[in-house]
């Protein structure tokens, strides 16, 4: 469950209270090698926001041939970067929300496009191997339905002949350091766009008290405009560091940056954020975050900014 306090789209102050999301997670072990996992979500604003009120966030069957070879079939989160598979897991992430700059940059500015969809339908092969005492290598290769012309979610509609390939390689050098590299190739369906290629890099340090995480994603998107092919380039990054005090209170600082396709003028967006996470109990967490958005309005090309305060209480059971 979570609730945001934030200004409305028209930048007027607004304060609301309610239960926004409800997630029901099911994990069924079907024998020694196979399991079924589903996550059904209910969104309070679904109907009002022209979204599905109930939806299958993910649902797949996983067969483990061995620990290094596991095959998933169904709908699953795209294995790109460190955060995408955690997008519905407020209990598992540090901030009130996950850094959207590398996942959903179009939420921050309508001049940006998504680097990859949140979830996909198809097959995912993944596994882990261990070597040299405590090094872990993890790979994920997914073949899914690709984006359609709108570059939005809901790419499971009939007649979608677009296909996408995602690859993520991760290396844990030791218990503290992890590096990863992700690719996303999408042959976007429809006449408006051509190929989308996203390329991501990540680095994380998980100390006992000090934590650090950084990601950088760049993308090239082919666009067909009046019979001519244009190549749009976009990049985004974030850095987040935190310090756990007393084992339960973790203040953090985050800096996000989105550079949408250049349209002949500077249109980058910067989002500094400061917040904390307070672990009240094993399954109860209190979070708060202040973030500041400053960007260029496309219509007027004038600088615009606003500050957002968010508060979140999470209960898992």
């Amino acid at each position: 469950m979570h609730r945001d306090f934030r200004p409305s789209d028209t930048l007027e102050s607004r304060l609301e209270w309610g239960i926004e999301d409800w997630d029901l997670l099911l994990n069924l072990e079907m024998g020694e090698h196979t399991r079924l996992t589903t996550n059904v979500s209910w969104n309070a604003q679904g109907e009002a926001a022209s979204k599905e009120q109930f939806r299958l966030t993910y649902g797949f069957i996983e067969h483990a041939f061995a620990d290094p070879i596991k095959l998933r079939l169904g709908k699953f989160f795209i294995p790109f970067g460190a955060q995408n598979m955690l997008r519905r897991a407020g209990l598992a992430t540090l901030g009130v929300g996950i850094p959207q700059s590398t996942l959903h940059p179009d939420l921050y500015t309508n001049q940006a496009f998504k680097f990859f969809p949140a979830s996909g339908q198809g097959a995912l092969l993944q596994g882990e191997t261990f070597f040299d005492n405590n090094k872990i290598f993890e790979y994920s290769i997914a073949l899914t339905l690709g984006f359609q012309d709108s570059l939005k979610e809901g790419n499971n509609r009939d007649g979608n002949d677009a296909k996408a390939i995602t690859t993520r390689l991760r290396l844990d050098f030791n218990q503290y350091w992890r590096a990863e590299k992700s690719f996303y190739f999408d042959w976007v369906a429809g006449p408006l766009y051509g190929m989308l290629f996203s390329d991501g890099y990540g680095l994380a340090y998980n100390g006992n008290k000090l934590n650090f995480q950084a990601e950088y994603v760049t993308a090239q998107l082919e666009k067909n405009e009046e019979g001519e092919k244009q190549k749009l380039s976009q990049q985004a990054a974030y850095m987040q560091s935190s310090l756990t005090l007393g084992g339960f209170f973790t203040p953090y600082l985050r800096f996000e940056w989105v550079d949408p396709p250049n349209r002949g003028y500077q249109n980058s967006l910067f989002v500094p954020a400061f917040g904390f996470q307070w672990d009240i109990g094993a399954w109860y967490i209190l979070k708060s975050e202040v973030s500041h958005f400053s960007y260029l309005e496309e219509s007027t090309r004038s600088a615009s900014s606003y500050t957002r305060f968010r508060f979140l209480f999470l209960a898992g059971f």
């Binding site: 997670l25 994990n27 072990e29 024998g31 020694e32 090698h33 399991r35 996992t37 996550n39 993910y58 797949f60 483990a64 041939f65 061995a66 620990d67 699953f76 989160f77 598979m85 955690l86 519905r88 897991a89 209990l91 598992a92 882990e128 261990f130 005492n133 405590n134 872990i136 218990q175 998980n206 006992n208 756990t244 084992g247 339960f248 672990d279 094993a282 898992g316």
Partner: protein, 163 residues
């Protein structure tokens, strides 16, 4: 009265007695802390389980959800006592290299991304033993505070540097 007390010389025997008592208290505190810092840990499975021995790294990988199959045939299900138990805290910090908070966050990530099932945790060892008895693939971590029932066996752990 107070002035007279201060002026009274303290007998040597009393000084010796005080010093001896102080040393005894220090020794007791240090030994108690040492005992607290290195609790007894046992890795236990059902007698029906084909597992006889594990390496120290295997134990870590099982409790981090990275080793889920035994010889490609048996699904491994880690189980332990509540994280508030000092022996479990010791295991998580010294053997897995994580704080209890990090251990919880780690498993939440796996759970919510659909990548794993959180280890079962029990309030009492009797409950843990009952779970192990009914699940041949279950691997349990206990303290040996109560005697091991006949249907369970303790595993030999290579390089397991705990008492």
């Amino acid at each position: 009265m107070l002035g007279r007390l201060i002026q009274t010389p303290i007998p040597k025997r009393a000084v010796h007695l005080c010093c001896t008592l102080l040393i005894c208290i220090c020794v007791l505190v240090v030994s108690a802390k040492a005992q607290e810092a290195t609790p007894r840990l046992m890795v236990v499975v059902s007698r029906e389980s084909p597992i006889i021995t594990l390496s120290s790294q295997d134990v870590s990988l099982i409790y981090l959800g990275k080793k889920t199959l035994w010889e490609g045939d048996l699904r491994l299900s880690p189980a332990l006592l509540r994280e508030s138990h000092p022996a479990m805290q010791y295991f998580i910090e010294k053997k897995l290299g994580k704080s209890v908070g990090q251990f919880r966050a780690y498993w939440r990530k796996l759970l919510f991304s659909g990548s794993g099932t959180v280890p079962k945790s029990f309030r009492r060892e009797e409950e843990l033993f009952q779970y192990l008895e009914n699940n041949p693939g279950a691997v349990g971590l206990c303290t040996g505070e109560i005697p091991l029932p006949p249907h369970l066996k303790e595993l030999t752990i290579e390089d397991w540097k705990v008492p």
